[in-house]
């Protein structure tokens, strides 16, 4: 071994020989094969580790992954992309539905609102304003019957009246109706004789003379319809009353009628089921 020659040297020369030996080792390393092997192996280890670290950093996971892992990754990616593609399809369909639907919905809402207005005027749930006539029926003798008022109403309807309200206790001077004596006239309006109380009960509200119809419609047509010989005006005058028709550019039918919710009838599809 390497220590063997030194053991034979004289003690006086030990220090010097130690120096010589260190020098010799530095200049000509007296290496055994095992030392070389260890060095080579460790060098290989460092080399391999560095290369491996480098390649891992460079290529990420994929380059160092084995084939089956790559297949697995590819499978994952494929199924994920498939899922995402399906999601895209669904979302695109939704978007399309929403974009085209929003326009349609707006139109539908506008149409529904318009119809609600029209129906509200017909049903008496919204106030209405427009050109029309004021028909005042005075009844000083108390001989105007509900039938007469109904006749007048039918005449106005035939002449194209669109919204009507009937007022009672109208003061000819101030041209205002009595408190609580205003009724919106709709299709279901009823006239009941309340002669004992000096008036007419319209939809449960007692109206007393003078009566006044506030009518929205073609004022000329309505006025002409009321004024025909043997018509409403003639009839009222025969009964001892007096009917005055005043055409107005704008009248307000402001009385409202509460909307009754049908107890039994429900909207049905056209199919009927």
């Amino acid at each position: 071994m390497t220590d063997a020659p030194d053991a034979n040297e004289a003690p006086a020369t030990v220090a010097a020989s130690r120096w010589r030996r260190a020098l010799r080792t530095a200049l000509h390393p007296h290496l055994r094969r095992v030392d070389v092997a260890v060095a080579v192996l460790l060098g290989l280890l460092g080399f391999a580790a560095a290369v491996q670290v480098r390649s891992t950093q460079d290529d990420g996971l994929l380059a160092s992954a084995r084939q089956e892992d790559l297949v697995q990754i590819l499978d994952d990616l494929t199924s994920r992309s498939l899922r995402l593609r399906q999601e895209i399809t669904t979302l695109t369909a939704t978007q399309e539905r929403l974009t085209t639907g929003s326009g349609r919905d707006e139109a539908a809402v506008a149409e529904a609102r318009r119809r609600a207005q029209v129906l509200g005027i017909l049903a008496g749930t919204v106030a209405a304003r427009g050109p029309g006539v004021l028909v005042t029926v005075q009844d000083p003798t108390g001989k105007i019957t509900p039938e007469d008022l109904l006749d007048a109403l039918e005449e106005m309807r035939d002449a194209g009246a669109e919204a009507i309200q009937l007022e009672g206790s109208v003061d000819p001077e101030t041209n205002t109706a009595g408190a609580g004596q205003t009724v919106r006239v709709v299709a279901a309006t009823s006239f009941v004789d309340a002669g004992d109380r000096g008036g007419v009960e319209v939809d449960g509200t007692l109206l007393q003379p003078s009566y006044r119809f506030v009518v929205i419609g073609d004022s000329a047509t309505i006025a002409a319809a009321l004024a025909i010989p043997g018509g409403v005006i003639d009839h009222v005058e025969q009964a001892g009353g007096r009917a005055v028709v005043v055409r107005r550019e704008s009248v307000l039918v402001g009385a409202l009628r509460p909307l009754d919710r049908p107890r039994y009838a429900r909207p049905a599809d056209k199919a009927g089921d």
């Binding site: 390393p29 290496l31 095992v34 030392d35 092997a37 260890v38 060095a39 080579v40 192996l41 460790l42 060098g43 290989l44 280890l45 460092g46 080399f47 391999a48 580790a49 560095a50 290369v51 491996q52 480098r54 390649s55 891992t56 380059a63 160092s64 084995r66 089956e68 892992d69």
Partner: protein
């Protein structure tokens, strides 16, 4: 001293040349490195215990690397290469940890 220098030279060479790992070797190189690390830690521990034998080290180093590579290769052939290489890394990692703990106890007495 010489082994440490050799290790440093190896690392420097690897960083300097940046060779690409051959495709056939790619699954085995990381395992081989871990196996070699295990051998090195074992050697350091033996050195500190005063029972280091370089012959044993060379043999254990080479056999560690070869067996680890062989196990992974077998796993690849059997279709469980990924799991087996994970297992090898786990086992070697445990050994490295226990060796490192022994080294630590010897150096720091704790």
């Amino acid at each position: 001293m010489i082994p440490a220098v050799a290790l440093a030279i190896g690392i420097a060479l690897g960083l300097f040349f940046e060779p690409t790992v051959p495709a056939g070797l790619q699954p085995y190189l990381p395992i081989a490195v871990v196996a070699a690390l295990d051998a090195v830690f074992g050697a350091v521990r033996a050195q500190l215990d005063g029972i280091f034998d370089d012959r044993v080290f060379v043999v254990s180093f080479v056999s560690n690397v070869l067996i680890a590579g062989l196990v992974v290769f077998l796993g690849d052939q059997l279709g469980v290469g990924g799991q087996l290489s994970t297992g090898v890394v786990v086992v070697l990692g445990i050994r490295i940890f226990s060796n490192a703990a022994a080294i630590r106890r010897r150096i720091f007495k704790a």
